[in-house]
Symmetry: C2
């Protein structure tokens, strides 16, 4: 009887196990999990902190007993695989309760050991520090939150890291009533986004009551444990300031759990993950690796990358089972990784797919950048919310390199449509023609996605030339005339210094007031300025449109 | 100076006009509109009936004056084009106020005259009948709703037609407090969907208080106008019953306004619309036609079809402007029509794209049918709502032929993703690998879309054989054993008569209780039954899964 051994019993590992059983009733399937639980909802963990997910049990989707009954899986929790002997095709496992070592043979081995939270060196050993990866971590956090000092619960929470998990922790700690400071080393929140897209999200968090410390990092602590009262301890930040901290949550990234793979001589990628091909096969053909521990080919660059997301882990686990079972469709490689991701904070969502502008520029890639601020559905139907969208396009091929969206409604939909378009190799201009579902409460006759296609084809065809927010100062310094064409009622929102105001409707009559030299035209979001720029261009002016208008410019100033 | 004449000043016509002006400042652009208003939000009209869209002005997006100022358009309202002289390249227009005729030359002519509501022959001349196409119709409706008899407003509203507009009217009349009966000639509501998909939507309307009369049609009326009190008049239905009717709203479809085109000798399609090519050019190269009045190639069949939707009208209007202006990207034909559409009723949405099963089967097309009932987002996060999805796939090519979705949340997103996949020519199996944005409040690690891909590839690979709801009786009559594998707690929802219950978890131990002959296995939605069917199949049983499970079967019984 063939034996498949699986290391890791959650997203990737258990998806492989259940699918493999469905394909092959005879095979022996052994799942090793060093933690206490399998099949839990990692992504739900932060929401139990606030009680949004009230029941801890809701996070436990399966148990070893349930998996034995339903799928005849041999699941061994609290058992860590400590070594792989590739020549003998065995793994050595340690029972974490008894300490006993045992050897388990395999025909095929699936590694889905995930990743572990990076530690903050400056806080090594600090008893206040928590990380959140599994249910046991959550239990420890809940216990700490239940501690009272002089009958009051601990109050000052510091979250380290402004990525998705940091933001989710901050949301839930705040909802629980704690005072929350989020410390982020980088200059902006949510590094998956570009700065001007992340800024309004950060402002929203601040408005909700989060204290944000961007561009700062913890460098130490006063007298850890020196006082019996932990509230006496404060954190020292790199900018010289201090921060009260009863509880510290470190969410500064994860590192792939690839140690046993590396020790066994499997090829490791540039980011420390296990290198696999499109079939998730490692450098040893009998060993597959999926999930956070593996490196897969990036959709934009083709280079190996990490992809610490639940969807791919689930899907790739299933794909590996197909390959192992030799199912008829077992030959299909997984597509390259787009890295589609989303995070919410009190009703505001931020999502991204592909590469951001920062990453593209740092690689010296040519990129066409588009910003827009459309409404989530028809403006005349109540409840429409403004979206901020950004599209990054390869100017040579017109292929989409990445996209970002921030807003209260319809963010996930727009990013999913763009992710689908990217997967299918649609050009950015093809977005113009997508037939998306429209009724006034769901979208617009020209959906925000269609409009991105228009913006792009206008740029590609040379109808529109644009200037980015970060190019404005230089253009004005070089003598460009800054023209604000908003409707008079929109000026109250704020002004870009130095702009002259002439509404679009007056331009035909008043364009002789404009100088002969270069003109930068702007409106609130870019739309009216597009009409103005086309008009002025047709009248012989040298004109560029400020991409994303006043709103993108303002977001970038925050 | 080149002259472009546009007939129709709303979705298609005005989109052509504004784009053309942006591309060409010099051209003369004349827009004829026989109605009183241009650039209004047709799709918003029903929502003013209830006050959901409180302000009538919100529906008027532009005015002739505004369009003159912003776009230098020569817009002539209350002016109907009554004839086209193709040889002379002129149109004859009648001023509807003065009755005067005038002649207007053109170099290019754009027809976007829309469609007019079909009349109910049985009610011809009945003063109670309203149709809703433009703002003037809305004004008449609002005036009728303001009528009081003995100080009470009219109460009994009858909506004829169970398509999108009928449903929207019913929703808004009900919200206004009227007693609403919806009469639909066909046996089901929402003919864009298949019967089992439309049924829960219909039930939702009934639960909200709409009286539904399916399979009935108005054949006459007692004594129209015979009494001074209109509430004395009742409608006679084809089933012999009668219906009180103070106000009647006819929404039984539209017919393309192609008369002047036909009279001018332009080619007319099989559905009565103006035939155009992928560039929206009619049989006369100087004349373009877009919107509800035109027939375009269908994405699935390639045959000409009508497409009475706002999105395509807007986009095709813009595309025609590009062709006329000879813009650099003017060469790109519009893709074939998918017909993506959506409608809502008190929080429930129904959407579709491509062809439904009924249409495919009536053409004798081979089709693979998939039903599922996934949650809109991760089940462990509060607020997840059940979706009903249906996917129609070409079993030869694996291409997607159509999809339908009904639910309270995420319906538009899933249909948009599938529409994008269809546009791009992705196979149904490729849905499995789409990287969609996932956090627990937005989706699932295996998104409903990914699951459709799984279902499809299981069918394509022969892992799963399924039975449709309408095939069950025959299979059971032929001796199949019906096996219910739901968890015991799920049985309370209802039972399929004749089923034997063994939960999945007990199947390995008890499968010897099953007969040797064919087995139909079912669970609540198809998911557990899939695991059961794989297991039984692997153990040598002859087993098929009831597609969509108990829920689809139940929906089909309604
Ligand atoms: C708090 C949190 C929130 C998240 N939110 C989201 C989200 O919203 N969206 C999203 O897409 N992703 C999210 N993720 C990421 C997602 O959970 C992971 O990408 C996914 O779980 C990775 O699957 P995996 O199988 O690689 O690893 P895991 O699911 O972590 O499973 C790996 C398992 O292997 C075990 N293991 C490791 N080494 C060994 C060994 N040597 N022997 C035995 N067992 C071993 C570990 O104990 C672990 O349980 C979140 C993660 C966390 C922690
Ligand atoms: C109540 C209602 C709700 C709708 N809801 C939706 C929805 O939710 N989603 C969706 O996608 N679609 C919806 N639609 C359909 C959508 O509005 C139409 O598909 C779209 O407006 C078609 O554009 P068009 O330019 O072809 O026609 P129209 O927008 O109707 O414009 C045609 C104009 O041409 C004028 N005209 C006609 N003949 C002449 C002539 N000879 N001379 C001068 N003028 C002439 C007419 O008066 C009319 O104003 C809805 C329609 C209605 C009526
Ligand atoms: C709970 C768990 C064991 C379930 O595994 P599973 O049975 O493979 O997955 P699901 O319950 O999602 O079911 C998917 C299966 O049902 C099938 N299915 C789903 N809906 C169906 C329907 N309506 N009809 C028929 N089949 C259906 C799918 O095709 C798939 O089967 P396949 O892989 O053979 O094609 C596993 O998902 C797990 O451990 N999850 C928790 C960890 C995790 O993912 N964490 C990160 C996210 S928070
Ligand atoms: C109101 C109306 C006259 C506006 O016409 P319009 O100016 O062509 O359309 P919009 O206001 O949607 O603007 C779209 C233009 O702005 C551009 N645009 C949008 N957002 C932009 C941004 N952020 N930056 C730059 N340009 C932008 C688009 O590219 C497009 O220009 P293009 O066609 O030259 O590429 C026309 O849409 C209309 O008559 N609508 C009502 C009728 C109707 O559609 N009814 C059915 C639906 S209810």
């Amino acid at each position: 009887r063939a034996v498949t051994v699986i290391v890791g019993g959650v997203a990737g590992g258990m998806s492989a196990a259940t699918r493999l059983r469905r394909l092959d009733e005879q095979r022996e399937i052994v799942v090793f999990e060093r933690g206490e639980h399998v099949s839990f909802a990692n992504c739900g963990l932060p929401y139990h902190v606030s009680g949004t997910i009230a029941s801890r049990d809701a996070l436990l989707l399966q148990s070893p007993e349930g998996l034995a009954k339903r799928f005849r899986l041999d699941v061994r929790v609290r058992t860590e695989v400590v070594a792989i002997d590739r020549a003998a095709r065995t793994v050595t496992a340690r029972d974490l309760v008894t300490g006993e070592l045992s050897s388990q043979p395999y025909d095929t081995l699936v590694l889905s050991p995930g990743a572990s939270p990076r530690g903050s060196a400056a806080l090594a050993g600090d008893f206040r520090v928590h990380t959140l990866r599994d249910v046991s971590d959550l239990d420890r956090i809940m216990a700490s939150l239940a501690i009272t000092v002089d009958d009051a619960p601990l109050r000052e929470a510091v979250v380290l890291g402004g990525g998705y998990i940091g933001v989710e922790l901050a949301e839930n700690l705040l909802a629980r009533g704690l005072s929350v400071t989020l410390v982020q080393r980088g200059a902006q929140l949510l590094p998956a986004l570009d700065a001007e897209m992340a800024a309004p999200f950060a402002e929203h968090m601040v408005d909700a009551g989060i204290r944000l410390r961007l561009g700062a990092e913890v460098v130490g602590t006063t007298a850890v444990g020196a006082s019996a009262d932990p509230t006496d301890d404060v954190l020292l930040l790199s900018d010289g300031s201090t921060l009260p901290a009863d509880l510290i949550f470190s969410a500064i990234g994860v590192q792939p759990s690839s140690a046993i793979a590396a020790e066994a001589g499997l090829a490791i990628g540039p980011n420390g993950g296990i290198l696999v091909d499109a079939m998730h096969r490692s450098s040893d053909p009998a060993i597959f690796a999926v999930g956070d521990a593996a490196e897969k080919a990036d959709a934009v660059s083709g280079e190996p990358r990490l992809l610490p997301l639940a969807g791919p882990a689930n899907r790739h686990g299933r794909a590996v089972a197909d390959t192992i079972a030799g199912a008829p469709d077992s030959g299909s490689p997984s597509p390259r990784a787009l890295g589609t991701a989303i995070v919410g904070f009190r009703g505001l969502a931020a999502a991204s797919v592909g590469w951001n502008e920062r990453a593209l520029r740092s690689r010296g890639r040519a990129v066409r950048v588009l910003h827009s601020h459309p409404l989530s559905h028809a403006g005349y139907y109540p409840g429409a919310e403004m979206l901020s969208l950004k599209l990054l396009v390869d100017p040579e091929t017109d292929l989409i390199l990445g996209a970002q969206a921030v807003g209260r409604d319809g963010v996930d939909k727009r990013i999913d449509v763009i992710a689908t378009a990217m997967s299918a190799g649609l050009t950015a201009s093809a977005l113009a023609d997508l037939e998306l579902a429209y009724a006034p409460q769901f979208g617009s006759a020209k959906d925000p996605i269609n409009l991105l296609g228009y913006l792009n084809s206008n740029r590609a065809a040379g109808h529109d030339r644009t200037l980015q927010w970060h190019e404005l100062d230089e253009a004005v310094a070089a003598g460009a005339f800054l023209l604000d064409v908003r409707a008079p009622g929109q000026l109250a929102e704020g002004l870009i210094p130095g702009a002259t105001h002439i509404p679009v409707e007056q331009l035909r009559d008043r364009h002789h007031e404009l100088p002969n030299g270069p003109i930068v035209v702007h409106c609130r979001v870019g739309q009216g300025a597009h009409t103005a720029a086309r008009l002025l261009g047709n009248l012989g002016h040298d004109v560029v449109n400020l991409d994303g208008g006043y709103l993108t410019w303002r977001d970038a100033q925050r």
